[in-house]
Amino acid sequence: MDHLISIKHLSKDEILDIVQLADKIEKNPSEYADAMKGKIMANLFFEPSTRTRLSFESAFLRMGGQILGFSDPAASSSKKGESISDTIRMASAYSDVIVMRHFLEGSGVVASKVASVPLISGGTGIQEHPTQALLDVFTIWKEFGRLDNLTVGLVGDLRYGRTIPSLLYALSKFENNRVFLYSPNQLRVRMSILSDIDGKLSYEVGEKLPDDLKEFDVLYVTRVQKERFPDEQMYERLKDFYVINPSVLETAREDMIVMHPLPRITEISYDVDELPQARYFQQAKNGVWARMAILYRMVR
């Protein structure tokens, strides 16, 4: 794996390898404490981030590496009009691995064409968020001990949420997974993504959440992506389309897990946090182990 831009480029075995390595690292982090000693990671965030940036930083620091970068493009030369390509060429000279988040789709491919060190996408516009999908499947694997034969409900903004395509691509690599895609009609999964998973992953599209959730192993909830909406009024109309609260989850099995890539706004009520199904904070924590595994595989 030279660069990590899309989950589409990973094989089932490569995904399983990352998941199993993340598990190994979590169980024995001290064994990896010096794995990145003497290495530098460039963290280039052209778009705001909390979890992705901090968990990559935590992951690299936990392996003894050092970090440079920026989290506000206004403080970088991109503000002066520097291209992505030039910024990446420069960062390649200054570091051993680059993590980049950018608000433009296609930015990952552009960057990967000039990066002379491994490049990891931390999210590219609405296109994909591959490392989120890897920590998501790590979370699922920890819970169920498998990544096949799962029934997953995805709920919310499936059109603009970049974690959705990456997670669907990851689930499509494993056998007998079924996904149910619940969103307002305006926020359905893009056709290009459905055509990518067609024949590889069984899916159904709907608007109304079923009254009975007992067949689900995972309920994956997403935020309506305000910053990507072309129209503020439409956002206001749709932002509370789904609110997952304890009464919605009444029929869910106790071993079902509720996931969310965070940040959460109103789509999961605070009182769900105390339910046995809530797994989103654990999921965020798993991001550190998953990203340590990704960096370990790509940098060494």
Binding site: G81, S83, I84, S85, H102, F103, L104, E105, G106, S107, V109, V110, K113, G125, Q127, M191, S192, S195
Partner: protein
């Protein structure tokens, strides 16, 4: 067509694009950038009678051959046209242009937030995912384009 009926003369060296669906010739002129290319002369015949396709357009381009990328793009907007290469007034090749599997350059991505639409040193490229109906996909941002999105770039 007998030589005495020809609307424009034969060319010495260059390219003839024949059997263009009627009124698509100006689109091809734009696709090939012929309006601004001072190195060649162009004759355009519009709505010429054709036994095979009813009415057709014909382009004769004196002094220019098409690059593979241009031929691929031509196959997107006017599949089925005949491409004739002429040297010393002789036809040296004659091929029917087909819809390509991939196209590089010439087209731009319709996604306004695709990185290729910004000042980056990359050439936009697209996979043709289906030919009927025509669907293309940006190799950078994954945005799907329809035939009308392609044609609109040359109107």
């Amino acid at each position: 067509m007998a030589k005495k009926d020809m609307i424009v003369n034969a060319i010495e060296n260059g390219t003839v694009i024949d059997r263009i669906p009627a009124s698509k010739s100006l689109m091809i002129v734009r696709l090939l950038g012929l309006e601004d290319d001072e190195t060649c002369s162009v004759a355009i015949a519009v709505r010429v009678k054709s036994n095979k396709i009813g009415l057709k357009d014909v382009l004769k381009i004196q002094g220019r051959n098409l690059s593979p990328d241009e031929v691929a793009a031509l196959g997107l907007i006017a599949p089925g046209v005949t491409l004739v290469t002429v040297r010393d007034y002789e036809v040296v090749s004659k091929t029917e242009v087909e819809i390509p599997n991939e196209v590089e350059g010439i087209l731009r991505c319709i996604n306004p937030t695709c990185a290729t639409n910004f000042r980056e040193p990359v050439v936009p490229s697209f996979q043709i995912t289906t030919k009927k109906p025509l669907l293309l996909r940006c190799n950078f941002c994954d945005r799907v384009m329809l035939e009308e999105n392609v044609l609109a770039q040359f109107i």
